[in-house]
Amino acid sequence: MSKLRDWLIAGGVLLAGRRPPRPRPTSRRIVEARDPNTGSELLATVLFLGAAACALAFPFLYAFDVPALTQLLGLSLGLACMLLAAGLVVVGKRVVVTEELEEPYPPPARVWEQEEVVQIVEESTDSISRKRFLVVAGGAAVGSLGIALITPAASLGPVLDMDPFFRTTWKRGRRLVDEHGKPFRAEAIEQQVFYTAYPEHGDREEIGAPLIVVRLEPAELQLPAERKDWAPEGIVAYSKICTHAGCAVSEYRVPTFAPVEPKPALVCPCHYSTFDPAAAGHVLFGPAGRPLPQLPLQIDAAGHLRAGGNFSGAVGPSWWGVRNRKAKP
C-alpha cells in the first residue's frame, strides 16, 4: 500500500514539476517562430478532456450493472475514442507546424543533420503556449481510455475462488427430469430422438444443469473402460454446454441409414464444434479443445433415469487450467 502511495507521489511530482528548458545547440531557428494558436490548443484540450471524461464514465456505468445501460457503455467508449481521435486531428492539423519532406534519408555520418531534425521537431511545438497542459490532457484521455478498456476484466470473475465454476447439482441418485419437471423413464428414451434433461429439484440456470440425452445402439458405444456402466441400455447423457464458448449444444445429427450418411454427432450451432456421443464426447470437428463432459447414468427400480455421479470433467467453456479440475457436487 505504501509503495502505491510512493508511486502516486512520484507520478504527481513528475507531472507537476518544472523542468528547465533544454539548451538549444544553435541559436538559428529552422522552423519559423509563429504566434501560438490558442483557439485550436483550447479546442484540442477540451476534446482530450471530453475523451477522458467519457472513458472514465465507462467504469462507473459498468459498476452500476443495469442491463438497460449497455447502450450507454458502448456510447461512452465510442465517444471517448471519437473525441480522442478528434483531438489528435486538431493537434496534427492546427497546433503542430507540419512539413512534408520527400528527401532520401541522409547517411548517418552527418550528425549535424540529425540534430537539425531534432531541432525541427522541438521548434515545431514551440508555438504551443500550454504544451504541458495539452500533454496532460492527452495523457488523461489515453490513460482513462486504457482504464475503461480493462474494466470488463472485472467480469472474468473471482481470481482466487474458482470453486463455483466446478460445482454442479448432479450427484449420485439425482433423477433426470424434462423441462416440465417430469422424470424421464428409460423406456421413453428412443433412438433417433434427442432429449434435454435437468436435475430434479436443481437450479436450471446453473451452467452444469442441462443435459443432452440420446439413446444409441449399445454395440456402437466406444466408452473407455472406466465408463463401462455409464450408459445403461445405450443411453448416454452429456452436458449441453459446449466446451468451446459455452453455447447450448442443440443440434443432433443422427443418420437415418448409417452406411451412406454421417455418423451420429452432437453439434454446437455457434461454431460447429462436433462431438461423438458414442465415444465419450470426443471432439470430431470444430474449435472445442476438450470432450463434452459425460454424466454417468443409472436406471432405478422404477425405470427412471438417475445420475450415477457427477460429470467426467469440468462443465462449460474452457479456460486455463480447466482440464486439471473436476466437477464437484
Partner: protein, 232 residues
C-alpha cells in the same frame, strides 16, 4: 358448346381412368427397387429397408423430390418432383403395404399457437434450421430451409427425421405441440415486417456485414477528410 362437350366427355372418362390397376408396383420396380430392394427389403450399404416406414415417410420423400436420388451417397434435397399426384398416391400406398407404419399425418396448424410454436421451435428445431426457419448447416450436411415446406411435409419430417435429422416421437412432441410448431413455421415464411431492411431475415451475419460496410465507408470518408493524397 364444343368445349362443354369436350369437358363432358372427359368427365365421363375420369372414373374409368381411376379404376385402372394401381401403378405403384410398376413405378417402384422402375425407380426404387435398385436401392431399396424388392418389396422394400433394402440393399445393404446402398439403401435402407422400407418395411414399416409408413405412408407418411414415403409421402414426404416423394412429394419433396428427395427421392429418387441420383446416388445413394448424396444428401437428398428438395428438387423437381418426378411423379404426378396420382403416381405419388399409388406409390405411397404400395410402399405402405410393405409393413405397418405410421400413416400420413394430418396436422391442424390453425389450432396451434404461434408463441408456443416459437418456443418449441427454438428448443427443438432452431439449432439447425435457425429460428427464422431459413436453414443452415450441421457438420457433414446442409440443413434445408423450410420456406417451401407444406404443413403436412413438416409434420411428416418431424415424425420421420429424414437424412441426419433426429425424429420426434409423440412423447417428445405431441400432435398439439407439432401444430404450434407448424403454425410458427407458416408465420416465419412471411414474418410481419414492421419496417427496416429484413436482409433475408437470416439473422445477425448479414446485418453485421451491412454494418461493417457502412462503417468501412465512413472510415474511408474520415481518412479522406483528414489525410492528403501524396502524388508520385
Amino acid at each position: 358448346m364444343r368445349r362443354a362437350a369436350l369437358i363432358l366427355a372427359l368427365l365421363a372418362l375420369a372414373p374409368q381412368a381411376s379404376a385402372q390397376p394401381p401403378q405403384g408396383a410398376a413405378l417402384y420396380a422402375e425407380d426404387c427397387v435398385k436401392c431399396h430392394g424388392a418389396k422394400g427389403v433394402g440393399v445393404p450399404g446402398v439403401g435402407p429397408p422400407l418395411r414399416g416406414v409408413g405412408a407418411g415417410t414415403a409421402d414426404f420423400y416423394l412429394r419433396t423430390g428427395y427421392m429418387p436420388l441420383g446416388s445413394p451417397h448424396e444428401q437428398p434435397y428438395r428438387k423437381r418432383v418426378l411423379f404426378d399426384e396420382r403416381q405419388i398416391v399409388s406409390l405411397v400406398r404400395y410402399v405402405a403395404s410393405f409393413g405397418s407404419g405410421p400413416p400420413i399425418p394430418q396436422p391442424h396448424p390453425e389450432h396451434g399457437n404461434v408463441a408456443e410454436g416459437l418456443h418449441l421451435f427454438t428448443e427443438h428445431c432452431a439449432g439447425c434450421h435457425q429460428v427464422v426457419a431459413r436453414g443452415g448447416v450441421v457438420t457433414g450436411a446442409r440443413v434445408p430451409p423450410l420456406t417451401r415446406a407444406s404443413p403436412v411435409e413438416i409434420a411428416e419430417a418431424v415424425r420421420a427425421g429424414p437424412y441426419v435429422m433426429p425424429a420426434f416421437t409423440k412423447s417428445a412432441l405431441s400432435d398439439a405441440q407439432l401444430d404450434s410448431i407448424i403454425r410458427y413455421v407458416e408465420y416465419a415464411k412471411h414474418p410481419s415486417n414492421v419496417g427496416g431492411w429484413g436482409i433475408g431475415f437470416v439473422g445477425p451475419v448479414p446485418e453485421g456485414m451491412v454494418t461493417w460496410l457502412i462503417a468501412a465507408v465512413a472510415l474511408v470518408a474520415i481518412c479522406t477528410a483528414i489525410g492528403r493524397r501524396v502524388s508520385g
